[in-house]
Symmetry: C2
Subunit: 349 residues, 2 copies
């Protein structure tokens, strides 16, 4: 294609709204199952939405995968994180050896796991489980320069788009020291929030460092003036490669009618970009958990979303998505496997 | 033994408080794992408490079982439920054939499942998966008479006590048309709540039937005057056989240092009885989910508990316990299997 951004627009146009007729059919089926109407609560809503997304009376969530997208951030030179920048690459090795939280959860819940290097400041050798799609070794420090070029933003989105296929349910995850700073900036711009409400402790900085983060973001927004209505502009000026890739993952999944389980704060920033580019993609998103990261509650308000879980987690990697994917799978199995009043000869109320 | 109630008191005395030294050791270990301190939130608290209950650095939750305890209620003759009384026995058959929600969830999460008949108004034949320990074919209508004799209450408690062994993690579940009425009465008495705050829709009654339930409870409390400080008196006058058995299950599990995952509103009424009889048993309880049944929020306030899940469920059977047991298992696996900063060569903050 000549114009890569027109390719993104083309994928966005492929997204069709979720079918209300399938949703009604699923609700009807729920009423036949041996339980008081509505008594499985949100598990019913989840299964119904799955059935509608897949346009089927027999939804399936057998093949599940979480993409842990990793990238580095130039803004780390400003001292925004409790951890040194090298930890991004070190954690990629930890993922590849199976020692990180997301590995344990994926093993526990039968979810495949793949690491996507879209911008880590380290040259990895080829390895199973690692998809090498590096756009650049980390973004620019967005306090001084735009984080990336528009061409880089588009390439990072396309990395995510290429991933989104072959699965019944996809989860987002990420790793990138400094990426709560970028996510807070995106939240502030797109939701129109005061910066101090969008900034939090990330991996655990103190009050002073949190104020420092907020000041850096204010400075960047002041000098770059990202346009809240232009998601590509926002990404280019204050984004991250992994955030761009997550946005691409969500958009392409929605275009293929694959539901996406969005992890926490950073993945949520990716979802903000995705839904700015393609508002219909919102219907394919399941927000997995309410993160303890301070801005996440406001982010969920922006989406009018009530996440599935609230476990005070704030680790990222896709850990919240993994736990929620298990609940989604349970919801679908209930819908599929429960006896009906008729088949079980149980009297109705 | 000559005096059965002294046997219960004896089991209660066996319960030892959870060891704070093991709790501290678990917290120390969490700090060595490759994640920002505290970033797994409640999953860390859960694993730490498990380690402390089991008094080990290597907690295990391999063998898991949910007991679905079933009993009928005399108060159903007053028209308190949206379903006819026969549904209790019909659902027992559904459980035994694997068609109920709890069966699906137990299959999904690798949890064993057993049905305990402690008071169903139907004579079942012997069947695998069914423990027959019927005390009587349903309680008395407690609006007119005490629900059971003290001797029956003690026998029902002992049925539960006999169950609580051989597992790393035990979940409570129940089936009994009419049992939200009994549970609401127990909540009102023990927590000292106005009856209207303790009563809810159960399996889905309308406003009028809900007021009817409340009036019946007021009438029963007025004529029997159960003593809120005497759990056996409360059980005898307004309880249910399955609620008594759940109380016994919790007490005996605690005496054997087995953590218990308590399902929703009715199981919670069992927990109120258990913790009245043996306050230390509280430390062994994990409250699984916030039920949509109206009184449950007040019940959780009574326990100062924040349940693990909030999914608008109100089905009972142990369905909330099953989902929470999976999260508890995940929490323990994270604690056990994650790499440390040292082993993974990841820099600390």
């Amino acid at each position: 294609m000549d114009n890569p951004s027109s390719f993104i627009a083309q994928v966005c146009r492929l997204i069709e709204p979720v079918d209300q007729a399938w949703l009604s059919a699923a609700r009807e089926r729920q009423l036949t199952l041996t339980k008081p109407p509505g008594s499985l609560g949100r598990l019913e809503e989840i299964a119904n939405r799955l059935a509608a997304i897949q346009r089927t009376a027999t939804p399936v969530v057998t093949k599940k995968r979480i993409y842990v997208v990793a990238g580095d951030h130039g803004v780390t030179t400003e001292g925004v994180s409790a951890y040194p920048r090298e930890v991004t690459a070190q954690m990629v090795f930890n993922f590849l050896r199976g020692g990180a939280a997301i590995n344990v959860l994926c093993r526990h819940y039968g979810i495949e796991n793949v690491i996507v290097d879209v911008g880590v400041d380290y040259d990895f050798q080829e390895r199973p489980g690692l998809v090498s799609k590096k756009v650049r070794r980390g973004t620019e420090n967005f306090v001084e320069h735009p984080a990336m070029t528009e061409e880089e933003a588009i390439r990072a989105i396309q990395v995510g788009m290429d991933c989104a296929q072959g699965y019944d349910l996809i989860g987002t995850g990420e790793m990138g020291i400094g990426n709560t700073t970028s996510s807070s900036a995106i939240l502030a711009v797109i939701a129109g929030l005061p910066v101090e409400e969008a900034v939090g402790r990330g991996t655990g900085v103190d009050d002073e460092r949190m104020r420092h983060k907020a000041n850096l973001i204010r400075q960047a927004l002041h000098s770059h003036q990202p346009d809240p209505h232009d998601a590509l502009d926002v990404l280019t000026k204050i984004g991250g490669f992994e955030i761009a890739a997550i946005a691409g993952l969500i958009i392409a999944a929605a275009s293929r009618r694959i539901p996406v389980v969005v992890d926490g704060f950073i993945s949520g920033a990716g979802a903000m970009i995705a839904t700015k580019l393609a508002p219909e993609s919102r219907q394919f998103i399941f927000f997995s958990h309410l993160s303890r990261e301070r801005g996440h509650r406001r982010m969920m308000e922006y989406f009018s979303a009530r996440p599935i879980l609230d476990l005070d987690m704030c680790l990222g990697e896709g850990t919240g998505a993994a736990v929620a994917m298990s609940i989604i799978t349970a919801a679908v199995r209930l819908y599929q496997e429960m006896a009906t009043f008729e088949s079980a000869s149980v009297s109705r109320g």
